[in-house]
Amino acid sequence: MQSEIEMTLLLLILLPFAAGLLCFLFRPAARPIALATAAALMGLGISAAFASKEGALVFSQPWLPQLGASFSLLGDGLSTMLTALTGVVILAVMLMQMNKPVENAHAFYGLLMFSIAGINGVFLAADGLLFYFFWELALIPIYFLCSRWGGERRIQVTFKFFVYTFVGSLMMLAGLIYLYLQTPTHSYAWHELAGVARSLPAGTQLWVFVLVFVAFAIKIPVFPFHTWQPDTYEISAPAVTIVLSALMVKMGMYGVIRWVLPFFPDVLTQYGNVFITLGVIGIVYASCLAIAQTDLKRLIAYSSIAHMGLMVAGAFSMKSPDVMHAGINSSYSGLVVQMFNHGINIAGLWLIAQMIEERYGTRDLRKLGGMASGAPWISATLVIVAFANISLPLTNGFVGEFMLFNGIFQSASQYHILFMVLAGTGIILGAAYMLSMVRSVAYGELAEGLITPDLSANEGWAMAIIITLIIFLGLYPQPLIQLAQPGFLSWNHVAQLVTGLV
């Protein structure tokens, strides 16, 4: 029975991959295939998340024994939470896409599915080489998606995005290979790499840390590695934007939590403040930038950067990874909760942005307006999602941010109060730009002769998923908080789990 549950880990990766192939093979059926896969992925992801409460799921098979790499997957609370998020988000995306024609649909959905396979793989991989493999598998389809189905300037922007993230990936690969060479058994297994990294001298740790961290920092993105993001979000197709900002961004955050924090304890004790500062700068700076934006998509992009800044600050305020695993600090729970919720909320915002752009034909906030008269239900969802995004209590955004604030406040850093207060200005500035956005879009008079149809059925279903989760998890966040507890009890614990099956 246990092994069947553990097969779900494999299915989470193989299913979208197979679906991607099928999309290319049976071209006319691409959209239904993708939709069905999305629904199945949501079910699998959520069931894996529930199963992981009993104890982490592990799957391991030999892969490239000559290189010391194995196909080992680890599904603890953090990982399964993220695969559940992938399922939910991709289902919402697919529902939204049902009445939107796409050129070369088979290639679009096929690539999307490949990318999802990669993303789930990243969240589950417990082997360094496998992790890198999935990391690139997720990225490369996105490159084609952005460059073929994007808006103006797409070639230029996508090129920059790709080169930027690829440079990061290669640095990470270099770091992983370095650690691999240091392992006594020449193995890529997570626990071997972590064990070696932890025993490196502080100076070496710093260099390897930089190599590995930069890849994640670009993906998250951490200030000042963020400039690819608004451009890329602006030009890519809405479905792709959602995959990028709700899921791929989480890859970076997940990478930090799983592949950085437990690896480099000395760096964190020594330079933890630097990275909390970067996170906090990200919050304030991106919030200020969001205020200045006149393009709806860019505004959402900067708001996402600001929210990720808080997560980065929270992650590094755990300071010592052993503190994290012992659960002394609430940042870890906060991260688990907030990563999920940010994914939901930002997906909701992009879905609404997509609907707005389709109806108005523009994203310029100065030209929008009056949606509350034309499309009241969309406006209502916009208000709900916007308030969730500025973490109003009883929406999902609040719980995670509160726990992260608490984590930063309780951290061992000597500037903990200052960090928390500065991070907190994000909720003030966030309210300012989000409400300005709502005001520009929904309020005011509708332009003469403009018809803005309200939610269609499939759009309604997509938004219903998002809003149900926003309210439910805002009122009762326990299912998520519980995911932060077992499975990740200690570094040694995970190591034992993985070694037990290799």
Binding site: S330, N406, L429, L435, R439, Q478
Partner: protein, 636 residues
């Protein structure tokens, strides 16, 4: 009805159901049904609240644990309600006044297209307000705290087509957020120092033998909470949103921006009285900020012409009085004033709503006058409210305000003088308002005069009920020299819910003549100021204001100041970031790397000259160099 406390969750449940029905069905439900659902749900809550009240009065109190909210291995915050004297009293005020205002709204909003939506928001507000007062820990309080902010935002911008209104809504939310941040910091400090947010765990720790937390830390906690309160309860420096909030429909102003939401800060501090007793510095700040706000906004109210703006500034000023009381440690007095203020200020706003309704939306008092002849009920009830707020003996405001002034007297001479000046100003501007609106001759257009009418029964009935409450509401808290028992204080003291700081009431125990003297002074100044207010505006002439009066009319330019000091710099910074740091700086650096590579490539490309002879030469040279290296590296 024993055991009602365990069913206290029914109280917020009804408005929640009302909200869900109206919120989901706002497009299909007829207006009357929406209004009925909205009002009845609050009525049902009122009935349950009454039952709760009687049970609490019989000595009951308790906590209702609903479900774990944020429970991890480091945090333990249940979703729980605490029912005691303080919360049950607030529940009564909220549901009671709330119900009357709902009924009034049915008439006031009858012509409004979005009436069902309006009732959905109103019910959501009542729901949030209940969470605020019933929560058993600061986080549940904060949920309600932000929830009422949301409803306030939605209702201020109810007429969403008007850009000024929606920006007023935004302003209120953002300014409240500033306070909320401080509140969050306060909560985190409590968590940091005491490891809990639950009242029942937190308060007993303060001052207990094992309490190792420094007074300094307690001061900071108290100050952070107070900054939160300045946002929600519109005190200096975060008060400017409240006058703007008058953009919402008038019943909203009555319910949210006068009777209930803005008193959340007072509730919170009264709830945390143990903390504030342990933080003398913070309490001093509370008192002086309260006084400053009371006086500053009272002067502004003197010269406003918009009937709702006068009432708004008067609300801020009265809230200031409540903070004076809190700062003096007279917590029950503040709660007492919350109660009486809820009655008469709701009445004033509803009366003003009735006037605005009759005037067809006109709010400028310069176009009013002599309305009393056409709207007798409104006039009389409004007069009662004015008498009450002015502190004329016999009316409810007299008792509560007298208690505040006495508390200030016990605290110190300067505070007393300030509070007295505040009540003089209050009486003056209220009678200015009354005189300009209801007496004299009509100054508006002919059409408006023709349109004037008394409001329908469902609007006047709440006025009458509130007028009665505004008269009798004060008799629950008579001064010690008049009655043996202070009913309200006794009730609030049940199970130690709220107790005045020791030493305040005792001050007068031995000095009955002093208390009589204080009552005499405050009654006299209130009466004189009221008459002065009436006399000065009996024959109004509206000339442009100069000097100090201009400063009053222009609200001391506080909005302009904030605009120049806070808003504009942030906007300037934002666009500077956007154009400078972001595009030229960071992105420039990123693109710079790309450009560097391209530049380098351009140079490197020139090595490929295309001259075959040159290639051959380089090749031979290369071979020679390799051979040389090979030779020197591994000598034969």
């Amino acid at each position: 009805m024993q055991g009602m406390i365990q069913n206290a969750w029914l109280v917020p449940l009804f408005p929640l159901i009302g909200f869900l029905i109206n919120g989901l069905g706002w497009k299909v439900l007829p207006r009357k049904v929406g209004g009925a659902i909205g009002s009845l749900s609050v009525l049902a809550s009122f009935v349950v609240s009454l039952l709760l009240f009687f049970e609490v009065r019989a000595g009951g109190s308790g906590t209702v644990n609903l479900f774990p909210f944020i429970v991890s291995n480091t945090l333990n915050i249940p979703f729980a309600f605490q029912i005691d004297a303080l919360s049950s009293l607030f529940l009564l005020i909220i549901t009671g006044v709330g119900f009357l205002i709902h009924v009034y709204s049915v008439g006031y909003m009858a012509e409004e297209e979005g009436m069902v939506k309006y009732f959905a928001f109103l019910n959501l507000f009542v729901f949030s307000m209940m969470l605020l007062v019933m929560g058993a820990n600061y986080l549940i309080l904060f949920i309600g705290w932000e929830g009422v902010g949301l409803c306030s935002y939605l209702l201020i911008g109810f007429w969403y087509k008007n850009h000024d209104y929606t920006s007023a809504g935004r302003k209120s939310f953002v300014m409240n957020r500033i306070g909320d941040l401080a509140f969050i910091v306060g909560m985190l400090l409590v968590l940091y120092c005491y490891g809990t947010l639950t009242y029942a765990d937190f308060f007993p720790q303060i001052g207990a033998s094992g309490d190792l937390v420094s007074t300094n830390a307690k001061e900071w906690i108290a100050i952070c909470f107070f900054i939160g309160a300045t946002g929600k309860s519109a005190q200096i420096p975060l008060f400017t949103w409240l006058p703007d909030a008058m953009a919402g429909p008038t019943p909203v102003s009555a319910l949210i921006h006068a009777a209930t939401m803005v008193t959340a800060g007072i509730y919170m501090i009264a709830r945390s009285h143990v903390l504030y007793d342990a933080a003398p510095m913070a309490r001093e700040i509370v008192a002086w900020v309260g006084l400053a706000t009371a006086l500053l906004t009272a002067t502004i109210a003197l010269k406003q012409y918009d009937i709702k703006k006068v009432l708004a500034y008067s609300t801020v000023s009265q809230l200031g009085f409540m903070f004076i009381a809190l700062g003096c440690g007279a917590y029950t007095t503040a709660v007492f004033h919350v109660m009486t203020h809820a009655f008469f200020k709701a009445l004033l706003f509803l009366g003003a709503g009735s006037v605005i309704h009759a005037m067809g939306g006109e709010q400028d008092m310069r176009s009013m006058g002599g309305l009393g002849r056409k709207m007798r009920i409104t006039q009389i009830t409004f007069l009662i409210a004015c008498l009450a707020i002015a502190g004329i003996p016999g009316f409810s405001g007299f008792f509560s305000k007298d208690e505040i002034v006495s508390a200030a007297y016990a605290h110190g001479g300067l505070l007393y003088a300030g509070a007295l000046l505040g009540s003089v100003l209050t009486a003056f501007y209220m009678f200015r308002l009354y005189t300009l609106t209801f007496t004299g001759s009509f100054r508006g257009t002919h059409e408006q005069e023709h349109h004037l009418h008394e409001s329908p029964a469902n609007m006047t009935l709440p006025l009458i009920v509130l007028a009665i409450l505004s008269v009798v509401g004060g008799y629950v808290g008579m001064p010690a020299v008049m009655a043996p028992h202070h009913l309200l204080s006794d009730f609030l003291g049940l199970n130690g819910a709220v107790v005045n700081e020791a030493g305040f009431l005792e001050h007068f125990e031995a000095l009955h003549h002093q208390e009589w003297m204080l009552i005499g002074i405050s009654s006299a100044v209130a009466i004189i100021a009221s008459i002065a207010g009436w006399a000065a505006h009996r024959k109004p002439r509206f000339v442009p204001n100069k000097g100090l009066a201009l400063a009053f009319e222009k609200k001391w330019w506080v909005d302009e100041l904030y605009d120049a000091v806070v808003v504009r710099p942030i906007l300037a910074l934002s666009s500077a970031f956007d154009r400078g740091a972001e595009r030229k700086g960071i992105d420039g650096a990123v693109n710079g790397v790309g450009k560097l590579v391209r530049w380098g490539a351009e140079r490197m490309r020139l090595l490929q000259s295309g001259q075959v002879g040159y290639y051959l030469f380089v090749m031979v040279l290369g071979i020679a160099v390799l051979l040389a290296i090979g030779f020197f590296a591994n000598p034969l």
